[in-house]
């Protein structure tokens, strides 16, 4: 599953990382026709089974088309697939395909290709293999139409088809030896081998046969992996880049120096109260204790000072652009340490207790706050040092009752898969509740029209039962220079290549 913001934040200190780099012509040299951007991470692979979303999407989105795509308002829209419809039981998805599309090696795009790609992904070892694993069988109706038969309803599937799950590569390339370094797609650009040095510069030039060239205004795209945020900012300010991801720290200065800040909330920052069933810390089984923790944090001050007011307070985990969002759930637990103490006292923990939290190097700024604000209501934090490259494995190991995270949020169903079900990776202690199970089943089987209400019910249950302690949704900050316009996308920290355009 996805940890978008998390990777962005930890990038400087670890986790998923990539080489920083810079080479090739400067951004200014070939004016509006070239887009030069820096990426937080190096590209991990062009193998379609290994593709990642988030930052690394920028590397593959120029070369690979997806079946669906999202418009600027986060609405799904046709791309290689012209239509997609579920049957009544929501276990068969009928997909109709565009005609006349060819991969850059000349292979035509058709229904078999879709099947090859989806089965290839499910069989692979990539992080996103799950995206096509809910498909049981394929029914090829014609070269331009096929039915995907599901094991059970999967409300996330259509989202996946607009993401790594929908990536279409030439079937020949999938088995090629150089699949990791030579992408063969049908996308608007092709990777320019001569201008590409792994770890340093990735250069893309136009695909001359592209079916929708007008949607992509740039003739050339240059992406440079640069790990360090200050280095990226320096490069942008000194004119070496057109745009790059930074963070809320850089906003004030960016505005002063005439850069445009493009923002969208993708991640929520806060605590995951993983031990809801009291397996490690009995106190956490008590709803009053979990609520007390929710009341303990001065969300407003943290948002203002740590994230420079770039974001919105919330107490729910779902993305504001998605189906499950309920505005009323943004302000359930407002900062109230007195009430928190009272709740603890009522639960019989008036004299406090202690919890163990992994001390992730990437969250040093937040760790201090957590310790102080929990101490203020009588909860003592015992930190366990975790090396930066062991943070995720440690958190997911089930050793910790509470962890701090900045979790990326996409569609409500994706978020549920990520952190709410009994099998979710971000639910390592396998907590569950019969009532929640019912709500989840309802959501899974809901029709498109019923879906938002079903999701909201889940969200409300989660908030009421204080499974999490979200503080606020934090804006991703993507800075661009005066020549470049960037449209942010709701579910992604970094915009896809189609979101950039030259300003006149």
């Amino acid at each position: 599953m996805l940890i978008r913001r998390c990777s962005a934040l930890l990038a400087a200190a670890a986790l998923v990382v990539g080489a920083g780099a810079c080479s090739g012509a400067g951004a200014s040299s070939s004016a509006a026709r070239t887009l030069t951007i820096a990426n937080v991470l190096d590209n991990n692979s062009f193998d379609p089974t290994q593709l990642n979303i988030g930052n690394q999407m920028q590397y593959w989105s120029p070369v690979f088309d997806t079946l669906l795509t999202r418009d600027k308002d986060n609405k799904l829209k046709p791309w290689l697939a012209t239509s997609w419809t579920y049957d009544a039981k929501r276990t068969t998805l009928n997909v109709k395909l565009k005609t006349g599309v060819k991969f850059t090696d000349g292979t035509p795009f058709d229904a078999t290709v879709v099947k090859d790609n989806l089965t290839n992904l499910a069989a692979g070892t990539g992080q996103n293999a799950y995206m096509s694993r809910s498909i049981a069988t394929y029914q090829i109706v014609s070269p331009t139409e096929l039915n995907l038969k599901l094991k059970a309803p999967d409300p996330g599937l259509i989202d996946y088809l607009a993401s790594v799950g929908g990536v279409m590569a030439s079937p020949k390339s999938l088995k090629a030896k150089d699949v990791a370094t030579v992408p063969v797609g049908s996308g608007p650009y092709v990777l320019d081998k001569t201008g590409t040095v792994a770890g340093s510069t990735y250069t893309y030039k136009r695909n001359p046969d592209y079916w929708n060239a007008s949607a992509f205004p740039y003739d050339k795209i240059v992406i440079k992996p640069m790990t360090d945020v200050t280095a990226r900012l320096n490069a942008l300010k000194s004119g070496q880049l057109n745009a790059t991801l930074t963070d809320t720290n850089s906003l004030a200065d960016a505005k002063r120096t005439g850069l445009t800040a493009n923002t969208t909330p993708v991640n929520w920052n806060g605590l995951l109260l993983l031990d809801r069933e009291g397996k490690l810390v009995p106190a956490l089984k008590d709803l009053r204790v979990r609520k007390a923790i929710n009341f303990a944090f001065d969300r407003e001050a943290i948002l203002k000072n740590v994230s420079h007011s770039e974001g919105a307070l919330t107490t729910q985990i779902f993305n504001a652009a998605g189906d499950g969002y309920d505005k009323s759930l943004d302000s359930i637990y407002n900062y109230d340490p007195a009430k928190a103490k009272q709740l603890l006292a009522e639960a019989g923990y008036g004299s406090g207790f202690s919890i163990t939290i992994p001390e992730s190097p990437g969250f040093a700024q937040y760790n201090a706050i957590i310790e102080q604000q929990l101490a203020a209501i009588g909860i003592k934090v015992k930190w366990v040092k975790v090396p930066s490259n062991a943070v995720i494995p440690e958190i997911l190991s089930g050793k910790y009752p509470v962890v701090f995270m900045t979790l990326g949020s996409q569609s409500a169903w994706q978020d549920i898969q990520k952190a709410v079900t009994r099998k979710s990776p971000w639910n390592p202690l396998k907590a569950g509740d019969p009532q929640l199970d019912k709500l989840l089943a309802a959501a899974q089987n809901a029709s498109e029209a019923q879906l938002p209400a079903a999701m909201k019910a889940v969200s409300k249950w989660l908030v009421d039962n204080a499974w999490f302690d979200p503080w606020y949704r934090e804006n991703s900050v993507y800075l661009s220079d005066a020549k470049t316009a960037v449209a942010m996308q709701a579910y992604n920290v970094a915009p896809a290549i189609s979101s950039f355009s030259p300003k006149e």
């Binding site: 080489a19 080479s23 992080q127 370094t181 995720i392 990776p425």
Partner: protein, 313 residues
């Protein structure tokens, strides 16, 4: 002379092998989280086990070392776990970047420190004092901090030099030079300071030698005494200093590359270290040790050529 080089070569090979072995054992003993980091949060234990088997991490450590060494001697350093790039290729791409930086820095260090050192040794006085102050300052100011200040001032505030990046020499010599100015300056400040101090000491030592008086008594010009005789005699300690500076600068480059986002070996190494990309780390260590060994060998040969007495010792 050839026997001398031959003996050194054998010693060097053993050295490289031992270092590689020790580093391998240490580095590979901490790879328990790799599969999880590679496969992401949704991976099942089966998948993790399969990945570990694929990477060979389920084998005993010594067996892994054997496999790695077997490939390494054939020039195959494996494949990066995180970027799937062949390690040898990754290093080949980045070595020229770091080397241009370090070689430039070492050459400048040599030029400036010899100039300053000789001048201070001969003139003394205020130049001497300048070197003393410089050497303390150059030593005490961490080079990455200097780099930071330089980049804020020259790139961001004045905008006269690029803040980040690297341009291949073949692409545009001008941009190549411009990109290297700040990183190289940050490196040179520190290394020159200590090298100049030591060159000064070496020259003073030589100028105190009896043969200098004898040469002067024979009517040889002060210039010849200084540049032909004193410098040649001071060359050996100076060369030793420079070879140590070279090693130090390789390390210094790591930090500097971060500040300037230069895609060199340092950036590669730091990222590999943070991710736990052990094949890359092994590759880098082996490459650099081989590099250091070559440099030392060259310095040994040059020393023997400059002063034949060294060959005997």
């Amino acid at each position: 002379m050839f026997g001398f080089i031959g003996r050194r070569l054998v010693a060097c090979l053993v050295l490289v092998a031992v270092i590689a072995g020790i580093t391998f054992l240490l580095a590979f003993s901490g790879t328990s989280n790799v599969a999880r980091n590679l496969l992401g949060e949704s991976a099942t234990p089966d998948q993790l086990a399969a990945k570990n088997a694929e990477l060979g991490l389920d084998q005993p450590l010594l067996a892994q070392l054997g496999t790695w060494a077997g490939h390494a001697v054939r020039g195959d350093l494996g494949i990066s776990w995180f970027t799937n790039e062949p390690v040898a290729q990754a290093i080949a791409n980045r070595l020229p970047v770091t080397l241009s930086m370090v070689v430039l820095a070492v050459s400048l260090t040599a030029l400036i420190s010899v100039g300053l050192g000789v001048a201070a040794a001969v003139r003394g006085g205020w130049l001497d004092r300048v070197i003393q102050v410089l050497s303390v300052a150059g030593f005490a100011l961490p080079n990455f901090w200097v780099a930071l200040v330089l980049v804020v001032f020259f790139s961001v505030t004045l905008g006269v030099l690029p803040a980040t990046g690297y341009v291949r020499l073949s692409e545009s010599p001008g941009s190549w030079a411009a990109a290297l100015v700040l990183p190289v300056v940050s490196l040179v400040i520190g290394s020159t300071a200590s090298a100049a101090q030591q060159v000064r000491g070496a020259v003073i030592d030589v100028l105190r030698q009896d043969f200098v008086r004898t040469l002067r008594a024979r009517g040889i010009s002060p210039r010849s005494v200084l540049f032909r005789h004193a410098l040649r005699n001071a060359a050996i300690p100076a060369l030793t200093v420079l070879s140590l500076q070279f090693i130090a600068l390789l390390g210094g480059a790591v930090v500097i590359e971060k500040v300037f986002a230069i895609p060199g070996l340092g950036t590669l190494t730091v990222n590999a270290a943070l991710q736990g990309d052990v094949p890359v780390l092994m590759g880098v260590v082996v490459t650099l040790v081989v590099l250091v060994v070559i440099v030392n060998l060259v310095i040994d040969v040059v020393s023997g050529w400059v002063n034949p007495k060294v060959r005997v010792q």
